[in-house]
């Protein structure tokens, strides 16, 4: 066996090479991403410090020429600033600007323009928005973002805008446009290549010791890979920490020079800095909460600076573990000969795979991968506020599932103290979905079967016409059916209420109570689902041989006995699959519920699938909705396995 196949040494050599290359290269790009992220953060922090220094300066000057002089001086002191604009709320006036576009007829001071040529309404809106946020934060003790950051259209930098405050009142807006200069430190290629080469060489060396044996080689390869990738992770983490500390240092020096510059500009204007400037407080987040990384004498507090990286540390560890798993899996795939086996299988059955691949690729990209991704999302707190964040940061384990499945709060106390039924509870929706499914399938089967029996009458005239007319509801697209029935159930003009009034009743407000709302959906779905059952039953009825009934009649069986002992058993093979199918359809009958009742009133007539949709697209809780959908999938899977058993059992009889 050993002689014909390539040696284990060679296989594991290729394996460890491929594993290390893939894992370390991925790590290399992850590290690169993290570093450029850090660089961006540093620039933002420096920008914030500059903006706060400017606001501080401007708020200490008198409006008018003093302010403009201060802005001009500030611009001179900071070459990295492309432009500065100061806008006052009072009279919507552009008080000072160093923007090249604001010269000549547009020179400050002037009122903000609403011309077509130069529409500055966005600036005014931004000022109002910032003022609103500052006031809301002050009154409600919240921490919403008071500074607005944006990328410049040409990608050469970013803009930052913040409030201008005097005596605790927001009086305007200060905006800077800053070019981004510093490129991020890139991870070194030499190091990366070394990390890939070292395990290969070590394995080659070790293989002379352990010989050409599969299991020892596998263990060696795995250990080497774990060590290498772990080492790369540790190195990456220390690199990130170093860069982070360097960032704080850079911010400290920006704050320091900023303080000195503002001080000198103030002196030049003959203004006493009272109270004294506090550059350390300029290093804040976008909500203008101090980061407290700088001490008042502008030294970096290492402990505080490090604590900002605690999250990064766990993220690196997590990524490292994933890379180790990936690397070892690849190494074993080649080393154990699975790759070869795989390649051989592909070669032998290549015609079959040619035919299957197009469909399979489509299914994997647009069905199976989204499914797996959806399951992954169900373990995260993915919502509209966390969209940009990597999934590892918003991972929250089984929290969504726990929240869904352990919520037994069927009744809730509403604001006025009375108890109200909580229809958004999972168990209510589940219960309602079951009621919905059972009642629909029952109606569908009963009506379909009765109509099929009637239509199966041999000599009945006009049968084909009846048949076509009765199949029509199934042929009409179901979203159209849903919208039509919604119109027919309209409270004022709908024909259903007109008919009720014709017989002396009073019009019903269908969407006001859960029961009437349920009836509207039931009527709609009943209408569109009986033809399917009718067609299926009719097909099965027609295939029952007539002599069975003949024989039964000879034996003196009554009509009912014939029905129960001949008709029903012969219908079973066709009807059981049809029922199974229609249970799944009805269970997930999104369109009818969504378009007819829309869950009214108060979500009482939502079924699981529409509820999941609303969590995702109306409450924007994507992670929670994914967990909800996964629970639905679980229920259907259990049902599928269960029905498979039943049908298998019935086939055996």
């Amino acid at each position: 066996m050993e002689s014909g196949s390539p040696s284990h040494r060679l296989r594991f050599g290729i394996g460890i090479g491929a594993g290390a290359a893939v894992a370390i290269l991925l790590g290399h790009f992850l590290l690169g991403g993290a570093l450029s992220n850090l660089a961006e953060q540093r620039e933002t922090r420096q920008g914030i410090v500059t903006l706060r220094a400017l606001s501080d300066l401007v708020s200490r000057t008198a409006d008018g020429d003093g302010l403009r002089k201060a802005v001009t001086e500030f611009q001179k002191a900071y070459p990295e600033l492309k432009s500065i604009r100061v806008v006052l709320l009072e009279g919507a006036s552009l008080e000072a600007s160093t923007d090249p576009a604001d010269t000549g007829e547009w020179a400050a001071p002037r009122q903000l323009s609403r011309d077509e040529k130069k529409n500055e309404k966005p600036v005014f809106d931004l000022m109002q928005k910032i003022r609103g946020t500052v006031e809301a934060n002050r009154e409600e003790k919240t921490a919403k973002e008071e500074l607005e950051i944006g990328r410049l259209a040409d990608g050469s930098g970013f803009s930052l805008a913040g409030p201008l405050e005097k005596n605790g009142e927001v009086t305007g807006l200060v905006e800077i446009k800053r070019s981004s200069a510093a490129a991020a430190t890139r991870p070194g290629w030499i190091t990366t290549l070394l990390y890939i080469a070292v395990p290969i060489l070590l394995l080659v060396g070790l293989s002379f010791g352990v010989g050409n044996k599969q299991i020892p080689l596998a263990i060696c390869a795995a250990v080497l890979l774990i060590g290498t990738i772990w080492g790369y992770g540790v190195q990456s983490r220390s690199k990130i920490n170093r860069e982070g500390l360097a960032a704080s240092d850079a911010v400290a020096s920006t704050a320091k020079t900023g303080g000195e510059r503002v001080q000198s500009i103030l002196q030049g204007l003959g203004i006493q800095a009272e109270p004294a400037l506090n550059p350390a407080s300029w290093d804040s987040d976008l909500a203008r909460r101090p980061r407290a990384v700088l001490t008042p004498d502008l030294k970096v507090d290492p402990a505080k600076a490090m604590s900002a990286f605690a999250g990064v540390g766990t993220a690196v560890t997590r990524a490292t573990i994933l890379l180790i798993i990936l690397g070892v899996a690849i190494a074993l795939f080649f080393g154990m000969g699975w790759a070869e086996l795989f390649a051989r299988t592909l070669r032998v059955h290549r015609t079959a795979y040619y035919y299957v691949t197009p469909a399979m690729v489509g299914m994997i990209i647009l069905v199976f991968f989204p499914f797996a991704y959806g399951i992954t999302l169900s373990f995260t707190d993915y919502n509209i506020y966390t969209t940009g964040k990597p999934l590892t940061e918003i991972f929250n384990g089984f929290q969504n599932y726990v929240e869904i499945l352990t919520d037994f709060q069927i009744a809730k106390r509403s604001a006025d103290g009375s108890w109200a039924f909580n229809y958004y509870n999972f168990y209510w929706t589940f219960f309602f979905t079951i009621v919905w499914t059972i009642s629909n399938v029952t109606i569908g089967v009963t009506l379909g079967l009765i109509l099929a029996l009637v239509l199966n009458t041999k000599t009945l005239a006009l049968k084909p016409i009846y048949r076509v007319l009765l199949v029509l509801p199934w042929a009409v697209p179901n979203y159209i059916t849903a919208l039509v029935w919604r119109g027919m159930f309209h409270q004022q003009y709908g024909v259903v209420n007109q008919a009720i009034q014709m017989f002396g009743g009073s019009p019903v407000s269908w969407s006001d109570t859960p029961f009437t709302s349920f009836l509207t959906a039931l009527a709609t779905n009943g209408w569109l689902s009986f033809p399917f059952m009718m067609v299926v039953s009719l097909g099965a009825l027609q295939s029952i041989p007539a002599d069975l009934y003949e024989a039964a009649r000879v034996d003196g069986a009554t009509r009912w006995q014939q029905f129960t002992s001949i008709t029903l058993p012969s219908l079973k093979p066709a009807l059981v699959p049809a029922i199974i199918l229609s249970v799944v359809w009805t269970f997930n009958m999104f369109n009818i519920i969504y378009l007819v009742t829309a869950g009214q009133p108060a979500g009482s007539t939502e079924i699981l699938i529409t509820q999941a949709y609303k969590f995702a697209f109306e409450k924007y809780r994507y992670g929670y909705a994914a967990a909800y959908s996964t629970v639905i999938f679980g229920i259907l899977l259990v049902y599928g396995v269960f029905q498979n058993r039943i049908t298998k059992a019935s086939e055996g009889i």
Binding site: A352, Y353, Y355, V356, P358, A359, M360, G362, I365, L366, V367, F368, P370, F371, Y373, S378, Y382, L451, T457, K458, T459, L460, Y466, L469, L470, V471, L472, P473, W474, A475, V476, P477, N478, Y479, I480, V484, R486, G487, M488, H490, V495, Q498, A499, Q501, M502, W527, G539, A546, Y549, P577, A578, L581, N591, L595, I609, A612, Y613, S629, L636, G640
Partner: protein, 367 residues
């Protein structure tokens, strides 16, 4: 009653009555849409009911002999205070004769009897006949205005074209993918065959809501195909694959292998065998697959609503919902559009439904 074969059957007349009732129920909503479409109006009422007449001072002075303006004002006030009429003068309840007199100030009680009569006129409750008219699916006036207007005043023509393009592309792509895969699953035995078939079956249970957000991320953010017909086509074609593959595999299984073996001996390549021999034999199944793919693309609503956020790229279903969803009440546009959208699909469906049924039930039996 006995037929030729000696079956005893139920009397036919009750059966006909029963069937006619059901045919009425089954066709009523369709007639309803047709009526609204042909009415030329946007209202969802099949007929206009007589309006209630407002009780105003002028009306009272006109209709009650001897009443002057001041007295009329007093009466209207009294009616308002008693909550009989609202601020527009619309009568909200049926006035009873002996309750009218106590309502009025003593000096006006002589008007109780004529007032009661007049109020009864104002009430103008629609008669049973009016109500019957209001539920009869027959337009008051015939007009093709809604059909013209939906194309003229609304971008419905565009939406129909979008739907047609998407559904046709879905059909071509879906049938191609399903035919090749179905053939492989039927004719070849290869590692992964069973797993593949089972995974297709299980994928039918994936809840759409679980897929929507990831699909959005993949199609819109990664593939940059948001608000495009290509993106929607790809999604529809793949979602229709599992059903079509099972259906075609079942059909290919019934085609005898000997034909292909003979062709193979004659030196035909696998490709030629598939395209020239197997596919032509499987025409009926291919037709059903095509119908199913087309229906998926033509009728799908929720993904189209999620992915198409530009009005000019709406598909017909999204557009139809746009007419009558939320607070919009353009039932004329909706019904004309609904008829145009439904006719092709209903005709196709009626021709091919029996194959569809056998495909559906066969697929699930094997599961």
């Amino acid at each position: 009653m006995k037929d030729k074969a000696g079956h005893d059957e139920l009397p036919h007349l009750p059966l006909h009555i029963f069937l006619i009732i059901f045919v009425l129920i089954a066709t009523y909503p369709i007639l309803w849409v047709v009526t609204i479409a042909l009415s030329g109006k946007q209202s969802l009422a099949l007929a206009t009911l007589p309006d209630r007449i407002a009780v105003t001072e002028e009306r009272l002075v006109q209709n009650i002999p001897g009443l002057n303006d001041e007295e009329a004002t007093a009466i209207v006030e009294a009616l308002e205070n008693a909550k009989w009429i609202d601020e527009r003068g619309i009568l909200t309840l049926k006035p009873e004769r002996d309750k009218v007199a106590p309502l009025l100030p003593a000096e006006l009680s002589k008007y109780a009897e004529p007032l009661h009569k007049d109020l009864m006129v104002c009430l103008a409750e629609p008669s049973t006949l009016d109500r019957l008219r209001a539920i009869t699916p027959w337009p008051e006036t015939f007009s093709l205005e809604n059909f013209r207007a939906v194309f003229r005043d609304q971008p419905f023509g565009r939406w129909i074209i979008n739907s047609a393009v998407i559904a046709t592309a879905t059909t071509i792509l879906g049938v191609f993918l399903a035919c090749t895969a179905g053939y492989a699953f039927s004719r070849f035995s290869f590692p992964g065959r069973r797993a593949g078939l089972m995974s297709f079956l299980v994928s039918q249970m994936f809840p759409g809501t679980l897929m929507l957000v990831p699909l959005y991320i993949i199609v819109v953010q990664w593939l940059q195909l948001g608000s495009s017909r290509i993106g929607l086509t790809l999604i529809y074609a793949t979602t229709s694959i599992p059903f079509c593959v099972w259906m075609l595999k079942g059909y290919f299984d019934t085609i005898p292998k000997e034909l292909e073996e003979a062709a193979l001996i004659d030196g035909a390549s696998p490709g030629v065998i598939f395209w020239r021999i197997v596919l032509p034999l499987a025409k009926p199944a291919v037709a059903v697959t095509a119908l199913f793919s087309f229906m998926t693309g033509w009728n799908e609503f929720i993904q189209a609503a999620t992915f198409m956020d530009k009005e000019e790229l709406y598909t017909a279903p999204v557009g139809l919902r746009f007419f009558v969803g939320g607070f919009s009440q353009q039932w004329g546009y909706f019904s004309a559009g609904a008829i145009i959208v439904s006719i092709p699909i209903v005709i196709l469906f009626l021709f091919l439904q029996k194959y569809l049924v056998s495909g559906l039930t066969a697929g699930s039996v094997k599961g």
